[in-house]
């Protein structure tokens, strides 16, 4: 046990180790951030197409969205990452960070689409009908009535998805990228440290810290969105 603590002390007092961890952490943050951005934007677009009133212009887009979410959600993330790296972007010199961002972003989009779709569908049909009966446009009804109510249902599940993406990016170490997970393994296998448990414990703390912060932010947003809800007063 005392060895464990002395190794932790060693890790934090060795600049190269700290450098490696921060370097890896930064890559994890970058991939996660941009992947989530792509996921939210693309996922929302897919959900909007999916929940839009059926019309002949949307038959093909709706079909494509269905296929997309089915395939992405039906195959392993690690396999999708491999396909991106070794098939689609198997181009010499192509920046691996972009490949990773796209792999995770396109994956997350499928899940986010389901989250957003569920949120939109959970808004009572009567709310839309009220808007229609008043002669409002579909756009106004969506922006002023449906979207604000849907967001309340979307935020908690979206927070969950963001956390999932951050943790899942750890698999980029499988294609040799130096993220937080890889940094922990790298430090642990070095001759000086010669212990996996310590760097991996520290890496876990890094993951926990960022996820704790995100959970906190999501809770705050949830709270402020519940203003028009009686549940907040109880």
């Amino acid at each position: 046990m005392s060895e464990f603590f002395s190794k932790i002390g060693e890790l934090f007092s060795t600049p190269e180790y700290i450098d490696s961890l921060l370097h890896g952490f930064w890559l994890t943050i970058q991939i996660s951030y941009f992947a989530i951005l792509i996921g939210v934007v693309l996922g929302t677009i897919i959900a909007l197409i999916d929940t839009a009133k059926p019309s002949k212009w949307l038959i093909v887009p709706k079909f494509i969205c269905r296929i997309y979410t089915t395939v992405i959600r039906g195959t392993p993330m690690a396999l999708q990452l491999f396909i991106m790296f070794f098939v689609i972007f198997a181009i010499k010199g192509f920046p691996s960070i972009i490949t990773a961002i796209l792999a995770f972003g396109l994956n997350s989009a499928a899940y986010t689409a389901e989250v957003v779709r569920g949120g939109i569908l959970s808004v009572d049909k009567g709310q839309t009908e009220a808007g229609l009966a008043l002669g409002l446009s579909r756009m106004t009804i969506f922006m002023r009535i449906v979207a604000p109510q849907a967001i309340k249902n979307i935020i908690p599940a979206l927070g969950n998805e963001i956390i999932t993406v951050i943790k899942e990016t750890a698999i980029v170490s499988m294609v040799g990228m130096y993220d937080l997970n890889m940094a922990a393994k790298d430090i642990g296998s070095g001759q000086n440290m010669a212990s996996y448990i310590v760097p991996m414990f520290v890496a876990a703390l890094f993951y926990l810290a960022i996820i704790y912060v995100i959970t906190f932010i999501v809770k705050q947003i949830e709270k402020s969105l519940r203003k028009s809800d009686l549940r907040a007063e109880k």
């Binding site: 009572d124 009567g126 709310q127 009908e129 009220a130 808007g131 229609l132 009966a133 008043l134 002669g135 409002l136 446009s137 106004t140 002023r144 009535i145 604000p148 109510q149 203003k227 028009s228 809800d229 009686l230």
Partner: protein, 243 residues
């Protein structure tokens, strides 16, 4: 109200897949008329009402308001002239009572915000809910919600008002409040169609009763004719059960 309000419904049909809910309804409504639609459950009363402002797009037939048929293109403008009150109130949950009243007239540029606000305040004061202007719908009782929903429809000064079972989701005490508001609109000459199960209210308020069964109007007449001298056996049977 512009003097010659006249709603014509020609051969209205509505099918949901193979389920034929409305089978050719012909109907006319003149200004100042108050029509109560009666009929057994599942007869198509609500669907009939919901087709009038195209909440349900008719499978066939025409809805003509003051000579203009409702089409895909003009449906929004027409809905502004045909108000609707729902069974479940459908106040917009994320907006305060005041914003529920202001949204349509301001967004549709029918009124300036200040003028709309003034009118909303007058109407709220009138129904005794001015102190709820900044409350969210979730904090209102059913009866309060429905009265707000009625004045929300009135904000657009509709030519015709459609009530879809406005008291069916209310407790007995609230029913009275909502009915007296409708009664008051009637007193002011408002033209409306109401689907309800409140027989005594129907008798009192209606200028005409329409009875729908299996998607067709099978009898219509003044309340007196309808309740005291029903012509068809179907209506006689219905009245025996409900009165």
């Amino acid at each position: 109200m512009n003097g010659d309000t006249d709603l014509k419904i020609k051969n209205l049909r509505k099918y949901f897949g193979s389920n034929k809910v409305l089978n050719g309804i012909n109907f006319e409504l003149r200004e100042g008329e108050r029509v109560v639609v009666l009929g057994p459950s599942g007869s198509g009363k609500s669907t009939f009402l919901r087709c009038i402002n195209w909440m349900e797009e008719p499978t066939a037939g025409e809805i003509i308001l003051d000579g203009t048929p409702i089409t895909e293109k003009n449906v929004r403008a027409m809905r502004q002239r045909i108000g609707m009150v729902f069974q479940h109130f459908n106040l917009i949950n994320n907006l305060t009572v005041m914003d529920n009243l202001l949204l349509a007239p301001v967004k549709l540029k029918l009124m300036k915000r200040d003028a709309a606000k003034k009118r909303a305040q007058e109407l709220l004061r009138h129904i005794g809910l001015l102190d709820k202007a900044n409350a969210f719908p979730a904090s209102l009782s059913g009866g309060q919600k429905q009265r707000v929903a009625i004045i929300r429809a009135m904000m657009l000064s509709p030519e015709v008002l459609l009530f879809d079972e406005p008291t069916s989701a209310l407790d007995p005490e609230s029913i009275g409040d909502v009915l007296s508001l409708i009664r008051e609109l009637a007193g002011r000459g408002m033209t409306f169609i109401i689907v309800t199960h409140e027989m005594s209210f129907a008798k009192e308020i209606a200028t005409r009763i329409v009875f729908i069964d299996k998607g067709k109007i099978i009898e219509e007449g003044t309340p007196r004719e309808f309740f005291e001298h029903p012509k068809t056996p179907r209506v006689r049977e219905f009245l025996k059960k409900v009165l």
